[in-house]
Amino acid sequence: MIISHIILKNWKNFRKIEVDLKQRTFIVGPNASGKSNFLDAFRFLRDIAIPGGGLQKAISDRGGVSKMRCLAARQTPEIVIGISLSEYGSKETIWKYEISIKQESRGRRQSYLNYEKVWRGDKLILNRPEDEDKSDKERLSQTYLEQINANREFRDIAKYLEKALYLHIVPQLLKYPVAFAGADLPGDPFGKGFLERLANTPEKTRNIWLKKIDTALRIAVPQLKELHYEDENGKPHLEAIYEHWRPDAGKQREEQFSDGTLRMIGLLWALQEGDGLLLLEEPELSLNAAIISKLPALIYKIQKQKKRQVIMTSHSADLLRDRGVSLHEVLVLSPNKEGTKVEAAANIKEVRAMLDGGMTPGDAILPQTAPQNMEQLLLNI
């Protein structure tokens, strides 16, 4: 399954948007336009659906409704997130799920559901508040999505959302987890527990996935060979042979790997791990342009085998220089007074015209996301 459509109202940067999503979707836009907040809408739904999660936890992990609400919001302060689900490669909607969240304006400032709706195809099968909700308002502090007793008819949606994976590897966190104390974040978004994830993967599977990564790394980082997993007194490590100009090649561990190598390993691992929605934050970081330009095709090849949706943010023209990237797959975010607008690049006439004239998607789209007064930067500092 994939999320084929999303509606956001008053969610962070977005006052009111509605847009189609493809199997592979690229989100581009200026800094602080809401790319990560767009991805966070999917993570929010996942946080509701995962065991041990739920609506209240998902809200409090984000600092409360007031931190989630759009600053441009006026008359309608409730937040709405709605998604449509389709089979991979099909346009037909099989499920729709939509929630609206409000916060009490006084008293405990409790967050509760304004409504929760589920459609199977076109048929509305859940429409809260129901009579019982009206007589017992506490019930509206939880979604049916998070309750096994209540979501039986649409558990497919919960199971699907639960599998969503978000990854934004911060190499320093992976190299020096001990130096970054504090509670681990749900879902390990920044790769701090990446090595534990490796350790918890069955050996056979782990070896198959690492072998694939090793094959890719030998091409991208030719000095690095024989990437493998090592367990040293119960502590998981990644190890590889690093060839240098001296005849005796040395062993290297994760803390000696380059940032680009680690991010590449993380990316290739995440693509293979699981088959749910994969959310990637700037997969191009720390990588050479020649590698970046191959990522869209690489992602396409791996996701196709698993029928898996990948949604990623990017600032990279190199990533979008592949003419195999369709303008229908690129969503352009543009902030304005009324909140950030979202538009498929295919709907922007001048971008289409530039491609007709022989330009690549990256060269046509990315300059549209650059700040307009950059010449002032050097003048004023």
């Binding site: 095709a297 090849k301 592949d322 195999g324 990237v325 369709s326 229908h328 295919a346 491609l355």
Partner: protein, 203 residues
Amino acid sequence: MMISLPIKLVYEDDLSEAVMKKLLNAFPKKYLISASYNKHGFTAIKRDLKGYNHAARFTPFFVLTDLDQNECPPSLIREWMIFDKQPQLIFRVAVREVESWVMADRYGFAKFAAVAIKHIPDKPDDIHDSKAALFEVIKKSKIKELKEDILPHYPGDRIGPNYNGSLCGFVIQSWNVQRAIQKSPSLKRAFDHLQNFQKQGKK
């Protein structure tokens, strides 16, 4: 022992790169590729050609571009090369696109696409739109994956999501230069040029 010539490649896309590498490999040990410049289209090649020509005073450069809708290779060269060409600059034009060169190995491409050889154009250099001709061949293929990879998915797309990956795979693994030069005169000229390049043992 023969010392390989270090050479740098300049090209429009991944498929051109794969073809150039295969061409150079046809002369074992003669060339050693030391850098690759993917220019993502002809505009940047045209813009930067003067720079590569300058640099060709010190090391050989092999530049490949598509003729596309220009009249003929000599007119394109006249228009682009508004300076004295360095002897170490190898500038070749694929007629009309590198896809024609790829299909020029008719036997190999028919096998790759799993179609009868009669469906592969017999005179690839005479095709007006090489990509469109290639799509026509792939549309006849019974291999679902090939269609998904190569044919455009959405309206307005020029190519499919793994167009380059899939066709590069063919070029690297199966494309036969000897068969291809018999069908494409522009490829044959490029091949001959690479064969004769610095043959007199000039250092």
